[in-house]
Amino acid sequence: MNETKAPEAPRKLGAKAPRTRLSKLFDNRWAGLAGLLIALLAPFVNASNYALSIMTSAAIFAMLASGLNIVVGYTGLLDLGYAAFFAVGAYTSGVLATRFDLPLLVTVPAVIVVTVIAGIIIGAPTLRLRSDYLAIVTLGFGEIIRITANNLPVTGGPSGIYGIPSLTDSPVTFYYVTVVIVAVAIIGASRLGRSRLGRAMRFVREDEDAAEATGVHTYRVKLAAYIAGAVWGGLAGVLFAGHLSAISPNSFTFLQSALVLMAVVLGGMGSVPGVVLGAIVISLLPELLRGVADYRYFVFGVLLIIVMLVRPQGLWPARSKEALK
């Protein structure tokens, strides 16, 4: 893995690594297709309800990570309350679907509208501030959403909402639908990263003042990244609600936000394939290591520190296309 070892540890996030055969392989466009193929073929290996459920969760988690990657990876804004948008999406679709007897798909436009509003409410006042304030404010926002869901009668209080209709009848079809939606979301996030807006985001991350000086409207770019992250999280929330058919405030704690962040950091901030890999590792690892469940979060915490100290670019680092020219 450590092909790209430089004499000095690269200090910049998303630093360039020398091009090696291994990294060329990872860079290949076929990598994403291969990942999709694996995801599509997996049910042929094991199609028990349990395995399908875990794989569906992993796919949803990958979507969350690709959304958070827009905020943390591309733009360099630390969001510690990402589960809030996940919750907003899940609750909006859950409440609408159960109160008005709507199919889940119909709630999607409402979910998008509500998450965009939530993104603006939290982003607009805080994105003008110092970047580290944002981290704590988003953390507070995550708690506000969770406690509000816990207290309101509309959201079912601590026991949450149950009986949410699923998108499909059988777990297998739901898995395939999820994989397709998640794949589209991941490709979308990746395209966004390569667009003009995505380049502006990375510029903001590398040097906000220089970006401002060259005419990038940094505040608007940050808000756009934040809203995009919110929408990705909200849509993942709809899938989550459809998958479990019951949601409660306990699913949206700080722990959830931290796990998504962990996936992004471990995989490589700003690198779409890395982040997806990180998400799959983080969500499947606990299933493989049942015996050491108690140590899991401790290990995650230590791992976060070690990654930042030793390999801040993550397992599968991002390399900018501009650098190759």
Binding site: L13, T126, V137, G140, I147, G301, V302, L304, I305, P312
Partner: protein, 297 residues
């Protein structure tokens, strides 16, 4: 009414004590020590360990023993803070701010769940409980023990203020806050001063942890999470990096919460507090007494 004010001031003095460490570290190296709340938890648990090892404590001796334990805890938590800085933060000084924040989150996780491995997931009952008969003054009920706790908090805060404003050490801290490189040229050992700052800040958090444990009677490994957030809120309200501002912020937050709970009900207390935080950041991001901070290029 008076009762609400009293409750607010009491809780507020805890917030202020924890917020001070946050604010000091932020003022000097511009790092949000995300794990600060967990040092508070660590303090509560190390006090718990010492008290349990002592066995039963006679009721008459509760306060003196508790004060001794308080001192021991402050030393141990302070050392934990120093180790944290050395291991997790110092190697990254000069790295992008995002990396530092992420390590801080990792450190917070590691401390919380490390404690969970050591002490178990269930809440522990503090072996010493500070509860006395209540006295009524101006329509507010409070106990002698509450007074003592507030007294300890005030002594610690005044001591800290003197340290920062009147001593050589404090002058070095303020110099580093202004410009670390020039300070090192002037013969200040920057790393050592930052270590000592972490020691003091963490020791204050540890003291608050023991006091909270003895007062509320129950501790668990996640107790630092919420108070860390509240302490940050208090620091922002008062003006982060400013010592008297932070103390004021703690008291203001305590009062706001006390009245907010009265108006809205206890289940909305935290929502109210964080709402106040967001409001403050929108309207007056520098806090009540803070100076304008510009992000350095």
């Amino acid at each position: 009414m008076t009762q609400l004010v009293w409750n607010g001031l009491f809780v507020g003095s805890f917030y202020a004590l924890v917020a001070l460490g946050y604010s000091m570290v932020y003022g000097i190296i511009k790092l949000l020590n995300f794990a600060h709340g967990d040092l508070y938890m660590l303090g509560a648990f190390s006090g718990f360990a010492v008290l349990s090892a002592l066995g039963g404590v006679a009721t008459a001796m509760t306060l003196p023993v508790l004060l001794a334990v308080l001192l021991m805890t402050m030393v141990s938590t302070g050392l934990a803070g120093v180790v944290l800085e050395r291991v997790a933060y110092r190697p990254l000084r000069g790295a992008p701010r995002l990396s530092l924040l992420i390590t801080a989150v990792g450190a917070s996780f590691a401390i919380e769940y490390g404690m969970r491995i050591v002490a178990g997931p269930d809440p522990q009952v503090y072996p010493v409980r500070l509860s006395g008969t209540a006295i009524e003054v101006f329509g507010a009920w409070f106990t002698l023990q509450q007074l003592v706790l507030i007294g300890v908090a005030v002594v610690l805060m005044v001591g800290l203020n003197l340290l920062v404003t009147r001593t050589r050490e404090g002058r070095a801290m303020r110099a580093i806050a202004l410009d670390p490189r020039t300070s090192s040229l002037m013969g200040i050992d920057v790393n050592a001063v930052i270590s000592r700052t972490f020691f003091i800040g963490s020791a204050l958090a540890g003291a608050a942890g023991v006091m909270a444990g003895a007062y509320y009677g129950k501790i668990d490994f996640l107790m630092g999470f919420l108070i860390g957030l509240k302490a940050f809120t208090a620091a922002v309200i008062g003006g982060i990096g400013n010592i008297s501002g932070t103390m004021l912020g703690g008291l203001v937050l305590g009062l706001l919460e006390s009245f907010g709970t009265y108006w809205l009900g206890g289940e909305w207390r935290d929502v109210f507090a964080f709402g106040v935080l967001i409001l403050f950041l929108t309207v007056r991001p520098t806090g009540l007494l803070g100076e304008r901070v510009t992000e350095r290029v």
